[in-house]
Symmetry: C2
Subunit: 260 residues, 2 copies
DNA sequence: ATTAATTATATTGGATCCAATTTGCAATAT
DNA sequence: ATATTGCAAATTGGATCCAATATAATTAAT
C-alpha cells in the first residue's frame, strides 16, 4: 500500500527506467540516476482518470456515435450500476455533458440525450464551414511534413474501408489531422465540441446513403490543395465540402426523421 | 404542504390571475377561467433553480467579473458553507465550469480559476472577430424595430456612466442586443461562452486605461451601420472593433501581468 | 545542519442514506 | 363514463459519512 515501498520493490526488480503505477493512481516514470543509485525521479505524471471522467467519456462516445437515440432517458441508477459506481460520478458526468449540449436535463425528471432540430443542424454546419475553413487556411501555412502523409493515409483508408461504423471516425480524423498544425487550440476545441453535436447524424447519413464516394473525392481535393500549399483553395474547398454535406444531411434528415 | 390546498387558498384570496409558488418549487401562473369558476390553469412553469445551478451562476459571475483572481483555488468546503449546501452541488457546478473552460481542476488537488495566456487571449479575439462579424451581418437583415432603440439606449448609457464596474456589463449588452435578432442560437451561445473566457481581462483593461471613448466611438459606427441596414459595413466595423480591442488588450496584459 | 522518513492535517473522490418531486395507478365521487 | 382524489413506486437532489491522496509539520538519521 505504501507508495515508497512499491517504488523500491520495482527498482530492485529492474534497475533501468521503468513505468509504474503508484498506489493505483498517478502514473510515474522512474529512473535510476547516473551513478545507478536508487534515487527516483518522477519524470512525468499523467492524471489517472476519475470515475466521473470515465463515465463522461463513455457516455459522450455513445452519444456521438449514435448508440443512444435522441431523447433517450439516461437514468442515473442504470448508468451507475453499469460502471460499478455510485450515482455521484454519474451526475457529474451528466452535468458536464449538459454543459456541452449533448444532454438535456429537467429537474426531478432526469437527463435525456439532446436531439437537435434540422434548423440547428443547418446552423451548426454553417458555423463549421466558417470556422473550419479559417482554421485550415491557418494550418496550411505552417503544415508539418509528416502531417500530409498522415492525412493521405487517412484518406486512403477512408476510401477503402468497408465498415460503415469506421467512416465517421476516419472522416473526423482526416479533417482533424489537417487542422491540428494551425496551432489554434481554442479553435480546435470548439470544432471538436461542435462536431460532437452533429457527428451521429453525419454517420447515419454516410452509412445509409453511401455518401463516401462524394466525401472521398472532396477530401482528395482538400488534401491536394494543402500539398500545394494553397491556403485559399484549401479553405474554399473545405467550405464547399461542409456546406455540401449540410444540404445532403438536411435532405436525409427531413426524409428519415419524424419531426420532434 | 399539499400543493392543491395551497392553490385553493390562493384562489380564495384573489380571484384574478396570480402568480404563486407551489410547495416552494415550481413557479406557476394561475387564472380563473371565463365563468370565474375555481378551475386552475398552469399558464407558465418556470424551472426553479437547483442549488448546483445557483452555485454555478454565482461562480461564473464572480470569475467573469474578475472578482476571483486567476489561479485562485476554489475550495469545495468553503464554497459549500458560503451557499449553505453540501459539497455535492458545488462539485457539479465546478465540473460544469471546467467543461466551459473557466476552471481547471487537478485530481485530489482541487479546482482553480483558469487563467489564460496572452496567446490564447489573442486567439480568442481572432475567433470572436470571425464569428461576431458573421452574426451581426445575419442580424442586420432581420433586425426588429425595437432592437435598434434598445441598442441605442445601451450606447447612450455606456457613454455616460461613470461606474467602471458597469462598463463591462453594458458593453456586452450593447453587442448582444445587436446580435440577438440573427436567430442563430448556436452562434449566440458560442459567443457567450467565448466572451466569458476573456470578459474579466477586457473589464480590467477598460477601467484601467479608460478605453471607453474609443469603444464608444466604434459602437456608434456599428450602430449606425445597423440603422442604415448595411450588413457588410456592420460586419467590417465589428471585425475592426474586436481586432483593435485585441491589440490594446494584449499590450495591456503584457504590461500588467507577470508571466504565468 | 541537512536530508530523509514519519506523522498529522487538509482536501478531494466516492458511497450510502434521506428528502423532495414526479408519475402511474387505483379508488372514489359526480 | 369521466373527472378527481389519494396513494405507491420510481427517480432525482442533496447531506452526511468514509476512503484515498496531497501537503505541511515534525521527528529521526546521517
Amino acid at each position: 500500500m505504501d507508495p515508497i515501498c512499491n517504488i523500491k520493490k520495482c527498482l530492485y526488480d529492474e534497475l533501468q527506467q521503468i513505468t509504474l503505477i503508484v498506489a493505483g493512481h498517478n502514473k510515474c516514470r522512474v529512473q535510476t540516476d547516473k551513478e545507478n543509485s536508487l534515487k527516483l525521479k518522477v519524470v512525468n505524471i499523467a492524471k489517472m482518470a476519475s470515475a466521473s471522467d470515465i463515465v463522461f467519456d463513455a457516455l459522450r462516445q455513445a452519444i456521438i456515435k449514435g448508440e443512444l437515440a435522441d431523447g433517450e432517458p439516461l437514468r442515473q441508477d442504470e448508468i451507475a450500476s453499469l460502471f460499478n459506481t455510485s450515482r455521484i460520478p454519474v451526475r457529474e458526468a451528466l452535468s458536464r455533458l449538459e454543459q456541452q449540449g449533448l444532454v438535456r436535463t429537467e429537474r426531478y425528471k432526469g437527463a435525456f440525450v439532446a436531439g437537435i432540430s434540422t434548423d440547428e443542424v443547418a446552423e451548426i454546419f454553417n458555423f463549421r464551414s466558417l470556422v473550419e475553413s479559417t482554421v485550415i487556411a491557418a494550418a496550411v501555412m505552417k503544415i508539418k511534413p509528416g502531417t500530409l502523409a498522415e492525412a493521405r493515409d487517412y484518406y486512403e483508408i477512408f476510401s477503402k474501408t468497408q465498415d460503415p461504423m469506421e467512416w465517421g471516425e476516419l472522416n473526423r480524423k482526416f479533417h482533424y489531422t489537417l487542422y491540428k498544425d494551425s496551432e489554434l487550440p481554442f479553435h480546435l476545441s470548439i470544432i471538436n465540441n461542435t462536431l460532437d453535436r452533429v457527428d451521429r447524424y453525419l454517420r447515419a447519413q454516410l452509412t445509409m446513403t453511401d455518401g463516401v464516394p462524394k466525401a472521398n473525392k472532396e477530401h482528395l481535393g482538400i488534401l491536394q490543395a494543402c500539398e500545394d500549399g494553397s491556403a485559399e483553395r484549401a479553405a474554399d474547398l473545405t467550405q464547399e465540402h461542409i456546406l455540401g454535406a449540410k444540404d445532403v444531411l438536411i435532405e436525409f434528415l427531413e426524409k428519415h426523421r419524424r419531426p420532434a
